[in-house]
Structures are given as C-alpha cells and as structure tokens.
C-alpha cells in the first residue's frame, strides 16, 4: 500500500515538474507547481512528517503560490506573453540538466550512508516537532520570526509606488 502510494505521488510530482519546464505559458507553470507541491506534501505524509506536510500545504500551496500568481498578473500586459530561449541555449540547458540528473542518481545509488541510527518510530511526530522547536531550536525559531518581520517591511518598502 505504501509502495503504491509512493509511486503514485512521485509520479504526480515528477509529471507536474516536467509540465512546469515544458510549458511556455507562465500561468500553466504556476498551476503545475501546485501539482508538485501537493505531491511532495503527500510524500511528507508517507515519511511520517505530518506537521511538515501541513506547513507545506499552508505556506507553499496557500501562500507562496498565490504570491507567484499575483506576481504573474501584475507583471504582464497579457497572461499569454511567452519568452522562449534560443534553441542553442535550450539544448545546452537540457544537456546540463540530463548530466546533472544522471550524475546525482549514480552518486546517490553508490554512496555509503553508514549504518542507520534507526527508522523514525512513532507515527505522528507533531508533538515531538513542537517540543524540539521550542527547546533545542528556540534560537533559530526566534531569529526566523525577526527575519519574517524584516522581509515584511522590506517587501512593502520595495513595492511602494514612486513618489
């Protein structure tokens, strides 16, 4: 059951990712990004990362994707404008990506990761994640909140209208 679910969600993520790359229309790319983000969120559920899957759906699919769609709407005269790279550039990019995928897969399958310290035992890890965030990882957690404040002010400042 888990195996079948993994292959289904992996296929959804990969096909959506391919759709992002081959689509020349940026709105379609954004919609395909939703498929990839949703597929990866389901994979997080399979990996017992319940809290992370929820965060992925709320922050990524709910926040970042909306931001991207708004960016698309605010920066194009028509949603159907498409800029294509030249054929030579696309061929070089394709070559680099295929080499990188091949190299990474070979590396990953040959690497020795050492003895596993054990598979994550308990299934809902939400409580443990919350406790770790407010004890061991308290300083990064607080720094992150300051960072978000800085980003909020910075984004508002950058996108203000000209005087």
């Amino acid at each position: 059951m888990d195996t079948l679910a993994f292959y289904v969600f992996a296929a959804v993520s990969l096909i959506s990712a391919i759709g992002i790359v081959i689509s020349t229309n940026i709105v379609r790319s954004a919609i395909c990004l939703l498929g990839t983000l949703g597929g990866v969120a389901c994979l997080y559920f399979l990996l017992d990362a319940n809290f992370l899957a929820a965060v992925q759906l709320i922050v990524y699919a709910g926040g970042t994707l909306i931001l991207i769609v708004f960016g698309v709407m605010l920066t194009s005269k028509s949603p159907w404008v498409a800029f294509r790279p030249s054929r030579g550039q696309a061929a070089i990019a394709m070559l680099v990506a295929v080499l990188m995928a091949f190299g990474l897969c070979t590396l990953v399958l040959q690497a020795d990761w050492g003895a596993s310290a054990g598979v994550l035992a308990q299934s809902p890890t939400v409580a443990e994640t919350g406790q770790a965030l407010l004890t061991r990882y308290l300083v990064p957690f607080e720094v992150a909140s300051v960072l978000l404040l800085v980003v909020m002010i910075g984004a508002a400042y950058l996108s203000r209208p000209e005087e």
Binding site: L14, L33, F83, L109, Y137, L147, A155
Partner: protein, 103 residues
C-alpha cells in the same frame, strides 16, 4: 515491487532538482526562474525528510525543512517585490532586458 526505502526518495529528489535547474536555465520570464528555485528547494526538503526518517530516526531533519520552507516564502516575497520594481522600470519581465545595473 520492492519496498520503498531511502534510495527511492533520493532518486526522486535528484530528478526534481535537475528539473528545477532546467527550469531556472530555460525560462526567460523572471517568475519562471523563481518557480525553478522553488522546485530546487522542494527537492532539498524531500532529501532532508527522507534522511530524517530512514537514517537518523529523529525529527531534526523535519525541523530544518520547516526553516527551509520559511526561507523560501521570505525569498519569494522579496523576489516578487524586486520583479515589480523591475517591471515598473523596464516595462517587461524578460530577464534578458535587465542587463543594466544603473538606469
């Protein structure tokens, strides 16, 4: 079908990462490049969570992944603000037109 293990997730992550790189290098729309960056960050997150489950057996990897999602959201907000400024100045979102540092 053999049971799903660490390697399955790592290979999937490598493929998504390569597609993200391809997206970043082939799109001329600045927002397309941003979408490619999001793909790469997602691939890294899959790696972190897979190692967290199969290799360390603790939630540390998941917490690092939470911070990665947070940074991705912050990066997207700032990037969109910069693209709006770029569009207001150059009147297009084609990054090939943005080759002047001063206006």
């Amino acid at each position: 079908m053999l049971a799903v293990g660490l390697n399955h997730y790592l290979v999937l992550s490598a493929l998504i990462f390569s597609l993200g790189i391809l997206c970043m290098t082939t799109k001329r729309n600045a927002i397309g490049i941003l979408i490619g960056v999001e793909l790469v960050l997602n691939a890294a997150n899959v790696n972190l969570v897979a190692f967290s489950k199969y290799q360390t057996g603790s939630v540390d990897g998941q917490i690092v992944a939470v911070f990665v999602i947070l940074l991705a959201a912050a990066e997207a907000a700032i990037a969109i603000a910069i693209f709006m400024n770029f569009y207001n100045t150059v009147r297009t979102i084609d990054v090939d037109r943005g080759d002047e540092l001063r206006w």
